[in-house]
Amino acid sequence: MDGRLRTVLGTVLAGVFMGGLFTIQAAPKLAPVRVLGESATVLVFIGAFVSGLLMGVLSPGITRGLFIAVISIVLGLAIAGVVLILPVATGIIGQIELVSVSIVERMLVLSIVLAPVGVLGAFVGSFIA
């Protein structure tokens, strides 16, 4: 497999991984497993580090690894955002708000905090590689 293709595939997979974690972090009470919902924020931090680490191992060069780690977090955020916005986009809105603006804001702030964690993971990963 071509190196570039491998990197793109890895980034997409890491993004999908982060997307799931961001989704349960935004709606912890709706997580299929209660324990996952309760520890969602911790899982998001661990997830960012692990995905950064794996991207660091996967891609040659520290700069590239760091860049990809951030991209995977942004991709995960986008996936979670799409899931959360779908009921609004499809027009299913009631008198009760399920996801408040503060949850979306918290998710965005968390993603900014997570970027250095992912970068740290990529840094460690590039040393392992």
């Binding site: 491998r6 890491a14 999908v16 009470k29 997580a31 996967l58 040659p60 979670a80």
Partner: protein, 176 residues
């Protein structure tokens, strides 16, 4: 030879990383799908929940004592059983606040079975200082209700509704 071996090691490492990422992504996809399914079910339950104020009527019980009866309709059109634990009811006459009352049903929540309409009648006891104002009435009566709705998995959510009634639609109740 050494360069070829190093490249082989790198490819093996990359393959192992991709396999790990595939497993993590698959697990995360399941997590996203399951959470999204619950989220959509909750959204549908929330979107099919409606609160409305159906009717107001008032009764002068005695000198200076007036009771305003508010009929609130909870329409739970979704598939989830819901319950109401509290309600705040405020009465306005021609946009001016008259009186309000809180109702707490935390110990015995009002159950709202799925696909059913539940009517709740609450009584606001207007103090004697405001009784004359209510007896005089106005052109428009306004009732605002809000409170806490308990949803499965999601916990407490806020609901609110209001009802505007022209004076001729407000019934003066004579008891019985």
């Amino acid at each position: 030879m050494q360069a070829a071996r190093s490249q082989d090691t790198n490819i093996r490492k990359a393959s192992a990383v991709l396999v790990i990422l595939c497993v993590l992504a698959a697990g995360s996809l399941w997590l996203t799908a399951a959470t999204a399914r619950n989220y959509f079910a909750a959204t549908v339950a929330a979107s099919r929940f409606r609160v409305s104020v159906n009717r107001i009527r008032y009764e002068a019980i005695g000198p200076g004592r007036t009771v305003v009866e508010v009929d609130v309709c909870f329409d739970n059109g979704g598939g989830w059983p819901l319950s109401v634990t509290s309600m705040q009811t405020n009465l306005y006459l021609d946009v001016s606040y008259v009186w309000g009352q809180n109702f707490d049903w935390l110990n015995e929540p009002i159950k709202l079975p799925p696909a059913e309409v539940t009517n709740v009648v609450v009584k606001i006891e207007v103090p004697d200082t405001k009784a004359d104002l209510v007896a005089r009435g106005g052109e428009e009566w306004l009732v605002r209700v809000s409170g806490i709705l308990e949803m499965p998995m999601l916990g407490s959510k806020l609901y609110r509704a209001k009802g505007v009634f022209p004076a001729k639609e407000v019934l003066r109740w004579t008891g019985g």
